[in-house]
Assembly symmetry: C2
Homo-oligomer: 547 residues x 2
Amino acid sequence: MKVALAQLNYIIGDFEGNCDKMTGAVERAKQAGADLVVFSELSVTGYYPHDLLEKKEFIRMAEETVRRIARSCRGIAAIVGAPRINDNERGKTLYNSAFFLADGKIQSVHNKTLLPTYDVFDEYRHFEPNSEFHVAEYKGERIAVTICEDLWDEQPTANEFGKNKLYRISPMEELAGPNPDFVVNISASPFSYNQENWRKDVLVHKAKKYHIPIVYVNQTGAQTELIFDGGSVFIDAGGEIVKELKYFEEDFLTVDTGNPGDAELQPVTGRIEKIHDALVLGIRDYFGKAGFRQATLGLSGGIDSAITAVLAVEALGAENVRVLLLPSRYSSDHSLEDARQLAENLKIKYDIVPIQEVVDAFEKGLTSLFEGTRQDITEENIQARARGIYLMAISNKFGHILLNTTNKSECAVGYGTLYGDMNGGLAVLGDVYKTDIFRLARFMNREREVIPENTIVKPPSAELRPDQKDTDSLPEYEILDEILFSFIEQNLSPGEIEGKGFDPEVVRKVIRMVNTTEYKRFQAAPILRVSSKAFGFGRKMPLVGRY
Amino acid sequence: MKVALAQLNYIIGDFEGNCDKMTGAVERAKQAGADLVVFSELSVTGYYPHDLLEKKEFIRMAEETVRRIARSCRGIAAIVGAPRINDNERGKTLYNSAFFLADGKIQSVHNKTLLPTYDVFDEYRHFEPNSEFHVAEYKGERIAVTICEDLWDEQPTANEFGKNKLYRISPMEELAGPNPDFVVNISASPFSYNQENWRKDVLVHKAKKYHIPIVYVNQTGAQTELIFDGGSVFIDAGGEIVKELKYFEEDFLTVDTGNPGDAELQPVTGRIEKIHDALVLGIRDYFGKAGFRQATLGLSGGIDSAITAVLAVEALGAENVRVLLLPSRYSSDHSLEDARQLAENLKIKYDIVPIQEVVDAFEKGLTSLFEGTRQDITEENIQARARGIYLMAISNKFGHILLNTTNKSECAVGYGTLYGDMNGGLAVLGDVYKTDIFRLARFMNREREVIPENTIVKPPSAELRPDQKDTDSLPEYEILDEILFSFIEQNLSPGEIEGKGFDPEVVRKVIRMVNTTEYKRFQAAPILRVSSKAFGFGRKMPLVGRY
């Protein structure tokens, strides 16, 4: 059968726009001579609509949109993803469904069986798991229609201290019975740099195990924190990936499942380049889908704000990025100079607004209240918050979204001032460890010096007091990041991390810093997710406790 | 059988402290001649530990604590709640379990079948549902051990547009087979003012349906947003509530299930009083469990900050509450006077710090950047943020937690400045509509004028520009709150809300305000939950979308 893979970028709840995109792809597939066009999971609504799924009107509009798309399917079939009301007497209100459309109508519906409810996934909140299995039939072929996680039944549990597999049921075992000609998997699988090959391995394994071709269609585009990387594939019955669609952008391809021809694969890119591409898409879609064009941020002369500015320029264009340089009495000359140099390299508008006067005014207002106390973090925070006010003033006055520049290492240990440098509509680097920040800088400078060399090589400092350096109170970033990765991504205990050879005192200190700063991250901006465990809604920790 | 109901307040992850409390109650029950002492759901860990459940060490410590408590059970049995590793080959790593302890050992384990995964509940994220049923046997009696939701199988789905019941299985149907003598239900059921009788109705219905007594033990105390109200009960086989434990505090009671004696019920209190008690407990436990004693907040002379101050004084004591009065050029004299009067009525320390000088300093710094622009919300936000900086300075310097004073009506429509008056470690009133704020004020003034009358009767205003009133841009609060309740708590569509008789234009405007300010609430402080649908982790909406 000739199948078109339509890898598209959807907007959540934009039924009109998503429908136009999908009927456009139906038309394109028809012209390419395809028998069937396949879209991704919950394509009609965009993935993931969260509690909009609890609104009757939302479900009604999704149903209507499915019927509209069905009407465009004449001489061609389509598989689209949408929620569907559960007609049974018991269970959750909805199924997460794939609709098989042909001859202007819904021909069959296939519900999702395995509902991921871990990390950033929350599907059992809204959906009833499927327990009935049937294949779609079209033009004499039998198609096993599955939805994303349905092929992941053999994965171990997310937290590996049990040895169990996560699911009790194997949809493919059930669907293998009727001996289908090929499998379709409609998916919404977000990017994460430490799972990049896992997805392909799972699909290849299933193709080999059942000796059956798989058509896998993922969505692309960012939905706030989650960045969907596309990379849809066709895998033949021998488990070879024969076709591969682009990463981080829309793509379209037609393949004959019985005779797929030569391999057409995407160029192999490195981990840092993928993170870079993911973040650019994350910024671009956050702005585009929210209806904004312009970003602002503060350039400190440090590496985090420099990286953020470069990404913003790539995502939005230099003409849409405006920065402030906000020196205090502790800012070094070279910091201001490095920041200015970067702004000029990027050709972005910048203004210099010294903050000392407002800081002095605050301190004057507090003189009598602070009598007899010593300078401490309070005064440092006032500087960070004064900068935050200036940046938000630009944001409010000119309609720019403020980009937050905090990296994951800082975010983890709570380095960052709430209502100060933690401000922002989107945290661009909040899932990128500092050691990767340096790698990103080298990647960005691979052709010419965009980020001033001095910004990269100088010792990191918040410059909130004289001669301050990050390493005054933190271990070297190489060590810090390994400890953090062990604790956050790998969920290891302090004892296990010490067992890797780290100083027990340092390990305990770092973990204490992570655990005692949950309250700060609770109020942080949404963080673009690029790892397997980002701060945000995929990692829920009690704010108050004694563990 | 003589059963002790131990209604306790746990700290999440405080295995040592929880264990001491529980073994203390075992001892007390023994002395009261009880055969069995019953604790609440996940009592060993505190409810709810969220992703701490993904940490091996956490589970190991929970197991150890169960065994420690078991060793204290000699001559008496106990039922405690804790997570337990799933030994099966498939499924989630854990069960949410009740352990039946006697003779120094774990005698049997009973796993939770119905795992609430809606609103603030997230149990399927961590737990595998039970599918095997057995009763505990002790001293010749058979006990059907159930966990919270296990008795809620007949509830309709949370979003009522399907007509289905939420669950496929009825644990009581399964457990009724062996003909148990009574039911134990260990629970962690949070307070919400619009579901206060639902819980009792469910229990009474089950007792009547199976003609069986029910021992129901809930936890008390607040865990950040969630406030558990206790109110444990014993219900006889006829469905009569015979014993009822206190609300919003720890309590202990022994009952003979075969011969419960006369009814002992709690005094009936009104809705506003319950909200009041819930909020006081919410503040007290947030501070106490986080290891803080002192609060600060800004008094504007308005009703929201007044209510917050009164609650803080009740929760923490007047000596632990310190406020700032932060007048700007738009603050009216009466506001400052009302605020001062309230501080004096409450006998709390207050300082007056005028903000005009710092606001002027900011505006001076922005002069050239803002050339040619008009005054707008930017300048109003600078005032709110300057106040935020002063309050956070007190918080940082003296170790006070800043209390946020935003009410639910404001929070819903996005009235409030991010990094300004939205600052705070805990949002005390974020789940209380403005119309209820006025009722709370009347309740607080029932004996003497604590809150100045003028604060209650004057038209609400943010005082961020001359003669500003809330009703300049919002409908009257009576109307606004009804629209908001219909949209947020009842999940009605705009059409359905208009059908109640509201002006369609006003309805559309209010809903648009709610939908377009998700990004603000995303960064809001944790909100004490008192309703059936609070902002926070029980209501997840996409930040970016077109719906």
